[in-house]
């Protein structure tokens, strides 16, 4: 048996992916299918006086047109709070909000049908400034009001001050998940009155629950199967086209393919919350933190999505992985007429990390310490008390990580080497290589921690079923059934590895993820390896137990062995061995008596909600990471080249080294994007750059090799001691790069992403809109 836990096992979906035959949601086609498209409101805020679909319905080739009037069940949906209309009925609250959808014989006819729908809008003044969302003269933008959530964490004596004070404002722009495969689904009405969806999503059962409510169907008539998913990063946690497509398919009585192009993808799913943050750190002259105050305003946009949970993460992580005796951490997430924001890798933590790490660097400067030394001095340790009152469980090697990353060798200086830099390695690259004498290098560090799994008392779980039988050729085979959404992260390999290790078989097959089994929860919050990995392991252990009990019974072993067979018998490399009982037989022989099957539900430890003072035990566990970034900046054009990235990360037990590497490299690249190029820009609520032409993503030329060190202390209570690994490096990459740019150019850079205009001497330097260093937001 090879390819078990700890091996760099290959992905089972890999061969189809390199051959181009792996079926993504957008590749699915069936004969007679219709093409669905969505009509979106062009105004950030508008009253809808009338929607007239009569002309569109009469176009030849149009099979169905649906609007708010055609939603049979609940008119709204949402991950946490159902506040988002399936279609805007009387008021649209963001530019891009769906108003109607059509299904037609081909895509072109569907487009023409959209153009034929008449909507009488009365544009209203949009409210797009999150700082004003709660102002008395701002109207309620939704019956539920403009405040999604407010959290106030008070720890120690919030009025206590140290002698050294650092206080400032920071702004983070809106990042998009930009998963590569745009949203798509193939949806078929079923003869039993139900509906079948093949869809790219992160969370099949949450989709089902929301679909069933809006379609007014019992959940068992809404069946979902995961179609090939081309990336997610949080952007597929919310419903997008699922309900629209199901309404169309049911109205037309025919299968509907509904899919977005890139522009619609940018408009269709929630983004990372833009943030405005004020921090006040105080410390002793020796550099020991005394207090942290933070005030956060997150822009949730027009609908709630996962905003309440994102805010909890942002506020509870706002002081960073540091020992802080006194803290007051306050945050609000508010409704505006901007695009909705929700889950993206890091989930509220990347924003606050940008703030607290900038503060730490300035504090280091103020007390005359090296940035690494200051972090080492203040890093949190297991047993320390967090601002929520939660005791830091272990392990959390924050101090070790920052030391490890600081000890990595630095890249050669920009002018070193016989030939000096070539255009390719200078800021600007081939098209705009910098003048080497005008390049400045900087080095920056960041340390962060990120919670793992769902927080605040949620009893989250994952179900898996495992069956052990004989394949047609007589060899033992394990089949795994889980609704865990494989979005690229590699659960499919991990699940197979677990079954090989626990059941000693080579052959493992994974059934498609669908709603025929119980929920595996969301592929988010760094939770699937732990939660669904735990479920697969639990089911495997139960299968092994059942099989061994049957073997013991058949062999006439004593009752105590039959009752607890694992104590005397074990499965190893295709055999069942019981030394004490003198028993040895092949797994194949044992399975000749029939297959064995078991289902297991995995729960993590219970956490608690936050009380009115923001106190509780909200997070299951944490993982930490530290990045060091080295950048070169072209002083003339303000272009940045990230020269090298080093990462030390707290990974728990490593189940698959190659997959781990892929996660941390990908997470680093997304953090790099937020540091220097990725921003979805809005103007009066309208997204101005919803294309890959204008929303820039890091390419191979932008992302350097990652020098990566894993710290692998096992996490107690987690299966095999794992930790989730995908999110922590996204939190630290951005602030490390921004710190390196600050070091190179000597500017404060309080706004992320850092743009060229923030770095060169324009007549009107753009840094932070508003009042840097001014009053904290109310």
């Amino acid at each position: 048996m090879s390819g078990g836990v700890g091996a760099s096992a290959r992905r089972p979906d890999g061969p189809a992916k390199v051959a181009g035959t792996f079926p993504y949601a957008g590749d699915l086609r069936v004969p007679g299918m219709l093409h669905g498209r969505t009509l979106r409101c062009p105004h950030p805020r508008a009253r809808i006086r009338r929607v007239d679909t009569a002309t569109a319905r009469q176009l030849p080739g149009v099979a169905a047109v649906v609007t708010a009037a055609d939603v049979p069940g609940v008119a709204t949906y949402g991950l946490i709070i159902a506040d988002q209309p399936v279609f805007a009925a009387t008021e649209a609250r963001y530019a891009g909000e769906p108003v109607a959808a059509v299904a037609a014989v081909d895509a072109r006819t569907a487009r023409r049908a959209l153009a034929a729908i008449e909507v009488d809008y009365e544009p209203l003044p949009p409210h797009t400034d999150p700082a004003l969302a709660l102002a008395p003269d701002t109207p309620r933008l939704h019956p539920a009001g403009n405040l999604y959530r407010e959290i106030d964490v008070r720890h120690g004596d919030p009025d206590r001050d140290g002698p050294v004070v650092i206080e400032d404002h920071y702004v983070v722009g809106m990042q998009d998940q930009a998963f590569l495969a745009p949203e798509a689904a193939l949806i078929t009405p079923a003869a039993d009155g139900g509906v079948d969806l093949r869809v790219a999503t992160q969370w099949l059962h949450s989709d089902r629950e929301q679909l069933a409510a809006c379609l007014a169907l019992p959940e068992d008539l809404v069946r979902l199967t995961l179609a090939g998913v081309g990336g997610a990063f949080g952007g597929r946690e919310d419903i997008t086209l699922q309900i629209h497509g199901a309404l169309l398919a049911r109205a037309a009585g025919a299968p509907v393919r509904i899919a977005y192009d890139r522009v619609e993808s940018f408009l269709g799913h929630p983004h990372r919350h833009p943030a405005r943050m004020w921090f006040r750190h105080t410390a002793t002259r020796a550099g020991d933190l005394v207090s942290v105050q933070a005030r956060l305003v997150l822009d949730g946009g027009a609908y709630a999505s996962s905003s309440p949970a994102v805010l909890a993460n942002a506020v509870t992580h706002a002081a960073g992985p540091y020992r802080v005796p006194h803290a007051r951490l306050h945050g609000v997430v508010v409704r505006t007429n901007n695009p909705p924001c929700g889950a993206m890798r890091g989930f509220g933590v990347p924003q606050v990390t940008i703030g607290h790490e900038a503060q730490l660097d300035r504090l280091a400067d103020a007390v005359g310490l090296d940035p690494v030394e200051l972090r080492v001095r203040n890093a949190i340790c297991p047993g320390d008390i967090l601002p929520t009152g939660q005791v830091m469980g272990g392990p959390l090697p924050a101090r070790e990580l920052i030391q490890l990353v600081a000890a990595r060798p630095l890249p050669p200086s920009p002018t070193a080497g016989p030939a000096g830099p070539t255009g390719l390695t200078l800021p600007g690259g081939l098209p705009a290589a910098a003048d080497p004498s005008r390049v400045r290098r900087g080095v920056g560090y960041a340390l962060a921690y990120k919670n793992l799994l769902f927080s605040e008392g949620m009893d989250d779980s994952s179900v898996a079923r495992v069956r052990l039988d004989l394949a047609a050729d007589g060899t033992p085979r394990a089949s795994i059934h889980s609704a865990c959404a494989e979005v690229g992260q590699g659960f499919v390999a991990i699940a197979e590895q677990i079954a090989r290790t626990e059941l000693g078989v080579d052959q493992v097959v994974l059934r498609p993820a669908d709603t025929a089994i119980g929920s595996a929860g969301s592929t988010s919050a760094s939770r699937q390896t732990w939660m669904s990995g735990g479920a697969v392991r639990g089911a495997c252990v139960a299968v092994a137990d059942r099989l061994l009990a049957r073997v013991a019974r058949t062999a006439g072993l004593p009752a105590r062995v039959v009752e607890a067979p694992g104590a005397s018998l074990r499965i190893t490399a295709g055999r069942i061995v019981g030394a004490e009982a003198g028993l040895r037989l092949t797994l194949a022989d044992a399975l000749a008596a029939g297959p064995v099957e078991a289902e297991f539900t995995f729960h993590h430890r219970r956490t608690t909600a936050l009380d009115a003072a923001g106190q509780g035990d909200p997070h299951v566990a944490f993982a930490a990471a530290a990045h060091r970034a080295v950048v070169d900046v072209d002083l003339d054009l303000g272009l940045v080249r990230v020269v090298s990235m080093a990462l030390a990360q707290d990974c728990g037990t490593v189940l698959n080294p190659l997959a781990l590497r892929g996660q941390v490299e990908g997470g680093t690249a997304q953090g790099l994007g937020l540091a220097v190029m990725e921003e979805l820009v809005t103007d009066g609520g309208r997204v101005t750059n919803p294309t890959f032409h204008d929303y820039l993503l890091p390419t191979a030329a932008d992302v350097p090799d990652l020098d990566f060190v894993a710290v692998t202390e096992p996490q107690p209570e987690a299966p095999y001691g794992v930790k989730g690994v995908g999110e922590a490096p996204t939190c630290t990459a951005t602030p490390a790069i921004v710190a390196a740019i600050r070091a190179a150019v000597g500017r404060d850079l309080r706004r992320v992403p850092v743009r060229p205009q923030d770095l060169v001497d324009l007549e009107n330097p753009v840094d932070l809109p508003g009042a840097p260093g001014g009053d904290p937001p109310a």
């Binding site: 890999g14 992916k17 390199v18 792996f22 081309g230 890139r262 390719l424 997959a659 680093t668």
Partner: protein
């Protein structure tokens, strides 16, 4: 509503005729929607991501930026037509071995682009590889394992060349 254009393409070695196409259809649209060649991916339709990469008469092209009308009579090679031997096979194998595939949506385009690059510039150094592959976006991997895979192909082929030379 469709148009009345007819295009004759050679896709992955087979003659394919598209009729009823619109004059403005891109090669990508025709491949995916008219011919069902879904090995070519659509991610931006602006020439910015390389997911739709094909070889057009032997040259690397983003099929979303080519009019099907202009590809009339041309030889189009997708990832599926690169063959299962030689360089393309090595590229696919190292992509798997080195962990260069996560969601895989960029992979067909990368396999085409990498095969083309290594045909033209077998000994390109890391900086050149990164610059040359900057037309292909991968959102999952951060490129580290993709570059590692390309370099593994280069190493294997250098060993092979040495062996052949002896």
């Amino acid at each position: 509503m469709s148009g009345g254009e007819t295009y004759r393409l050679h896709v992955d070695g087979f003659p394919r005729t598209v009729s009823g196409a619109w004059i403005g259809d891109s090669l990508l649209t025709v491949l995916r929607d008219a011919l069902g060649v879904t090995a070519v991916k659509d991610a931006c339709e602006q020439g910015r991501c390389g997911a739709c990469s094909v070889l057009l008469d032997g040259r690397l092209a983003a099929s979303c930026t080519v009019l099907a009308a202009d590809a009339d009579g041309a030889r189009v090679v997708t990832v599926a037509g690169l063959g299962t031997v030689g360089l393309a096979r090595a590229v696919r194998a190292t992509f798997l071995a080195e962990g260069a595939v996560q969601c895989g949506f960029c992979t067909p385009g990368f396999v085409v682009a990498v095969t083309d690059l290594l045909t033209r510039r077998p000994d390109a150094d890391a900086d050149e590889l990164r610059e040359a592959l900057a037309g292909n976006i991968c959102r999952c991997t951060g490129y580290g394992r993709i570059i590692a895979a390309v370099q593994a192909v280069q190493r294997d082929r250098a060993v092979q060349r040495d062996r052949d030379a002896r």
